[in-house]
Symmetry: C2
DNA sequence: CTGAAAGCGCTAACAA
DNA sequence: TTGTTAGCGCTTTCAG
């Protein structure tokens, strides 16, 4: 008899043992029908006599029957859940996207499991593996890295519906939703060049992150298209936290030949740059011009306000969910890639420089 | 023979059918051992001959065996997951707490499932029901409402480990981690009173939310302790979004007798109030003094900076996880309630008023 | 050291 | 209309 009470490693644990919840079997017994009939009544399919159905429902209510999704999932193959793996849940961009995904997912009867990779590739692997092992229906992922993505390739190969957001991996055959990072960055830098700036600094993430790489490309392309040199001393790499961005900015401005303008690749970086500049007594845009990728609350609070490259953040989550649901429903078209354009919002943080 | 391929509602769906993943059975077959032996080798318990074990591991690797958590969960009773139900994932307070919980949970081999209630009681019920049906180990919840919490009471009664954060329900017998909302609010308002203010406005959430209720109590207590009247026209209720807070602030200042100071109950409200005041051409603190509950990035970006009541945000998540894990491990002490003190950070947004 | 078999809770094909 | 039964993938006794 394998009938020992499970999970009794230590005696004291038994005290708090969760009350065994009521199962279909209990309900069926209470209603004097078979498990099959009870299940039919509970889930409303097939033929059930109205008398029997009523008894079942009554018993279920009385016993507090709730159903066990894990068992259902084991039986049916998957859980009505989609996973979202953002790079960092604290970044307002991802928080907003997470919220939008949540709303859209809920609208189609799915729960959302958010698991942040914290920009750590190893962690991302573990999380995706977890989600997969849980048999979620599909996943929306902002990959932490542009390289070493065999784990993603494998998931795709195995048929798990996946939609990439924000960071596209060209060689991965799955849908993606992102913005024109290269174009946006190029526009930002060209805006600075058009205002006479020549020493333009870049504060960016590790180029392992795809968006950082693309925005760097935009920066370089803009410079080269205008015959300006790419000076490595003007490029600061920092992880995307306010404190790191502060340090990077200070380093940048501790050099003999200071930049006259700064382009920051996300709103966290922009926040850090603003704080650093202020602490160094540099006024924007009098001493330094500033333009940031991604619009954010703070951008309109400074005086003057900050010029930014805005992304249509609110469109990303809902579209990603729609695409994912298509795949979950079995759509087998070739991968679709959507790239939204960005938009330069000119505020007051860029000044005109007159060349000698 | 119930051997029909499942899930073939429509023929085209079959095309994309997820590749059936390899099971212990496959591995066992490939290694020429029984399922039991394979399981033993895979999970490293019991006696397994080293030759057999090696064959199993090799076969598992070759076949790409990954394990099925759902089945494990069904067998073992629960999933190594904890759930977090914040009021609103976009609120930076909850985003930070979510991040902290994530880190702490991961440290103890648990995944985190974040499901935001969006301050909707009905939604919260559905989400908690989902989590419960998934057999998660425990949940950390910021209840959307101070009333109508039978759903929570029931979960607790059934033995699901639950820790409340930010918003404590006194009559619910479970652990909680929060801050001294009443005391913090009182200190804020007393600070304003000490600076000579008499017409002090409050911008707050619906009092259905426990923190809003407690902070309102602090506001009222401070006024009464100082012999000041509570004027309903000075109390604006708004849901916690920037736009709603803007509207509420404008309404407040459209009255004949304007307040000389404003106390906002969270950082989103504070952001909204700042935007509204600026749009009305009112300078802080020249025309209006301002103090907000909860410190946030923006508070140090305005000129002058904003005086706030700071909470030890970083301590809440980790402690909640620790308490939850205790319960999961079977701790059966009576409920523990932790309340952190708040701290007034005086910056420049409160001016002294000289009475006539 | 290994294998057979039971059973977690649920659903659904099939028989009655 | 209802009941019987198989089985999802896994772990774990118990008997070899």
């Amino acid at each position: 008899m394998a009938g020992l009470p499970r999970s009794c490693r230590k005696p004291e644990e038994a005290l708090l043992a969760r009350k065994k919840s009521t199962t279909v079997k209990d309900v069926a017994a209470a209603a004097n029908v078979s498990r099959a009939t009870a299940a039919r009544a509970l889930n409303g399919y097939g033929y059930v006599g109205s008398a029997a159905a009523e008894r079942v429902l009554e018993a279920a209510a009385r016993l507090g029957y709730r159903g066990n999704r894990v068992a259902q999932a084991l039986r049916q193959g998957d859980l009505p859940i989609i996973g979202f793996v953002p790079g960092d849940i604290q970044n307002p961009f991802f928080a907003k996207v997470a919220h939008d995904i949540d709303v859209a997912a809920r609208g189609s009867q799915h729960s959302l499991l958010i698991a942040s990779s914290e920009e750590d590739l190893e962690q991302e692997r573990a999380l995706l593996d977890n989600l997969r092992a849980l048999n979620v229906r599909g996943m929306i992922v902002a990959p932490a890295s542009g390289k070493d993505n065999q784990h993603l390739a494998r998931l795709v190969r195995e048929g798990t519906p996946i939609v990439l957001i924000d960071r596209v991996l060209e060689d991965l055959p799955c849908d993606s939703v992102a913005v024109d990072n290269e174009g946006g960055a190029r526009e930002a830098v060209e805006h600075l060049i058009a205002h006479g700036h020549r020493r333009i600094a870049l504060i960016q993430d590790d180029t392992r992150i795809v968006t950082a790489r693309d925005r760097l490309a935009g920066y370089i392309n803009a410079l080269q298209a205008n015959g300006l040199p790419v000076d490595q001393r003007l490029i600061a790499v920092s992880s995307s936290t306010v404190q790191h961005a502060i340090d990077a900015t200070i380093r940048l401005f501790s050099q003999p030949e200071r930049p006259t303008a700064v382009f920051t690749v996300d709103s966290v970086m922009t926040t850090g740059a603003l704080l650093a500049l202020r602490s160094m007594g540099l006024a924007v845009p009098r001493d330094v011009s500033l333009i940031g990728f991604d619009d954010f609350d703070l951008a309109t609070f400074t005086d003057p306000q900050i010029t930014v490259i805005a992304q249509p953040v609110g469109k990303i989550g809902p579209l990603a969910v729609r695409m994912l649901l298509d795949r979950i429903r079995g759509l087998s078209e070739p991968p679709r890639h959507v790239r939204f354009p960005t938009r330069l919002i000119s505020r007051g943080s860029v000044s005109r420089i007159f060349l000698p």
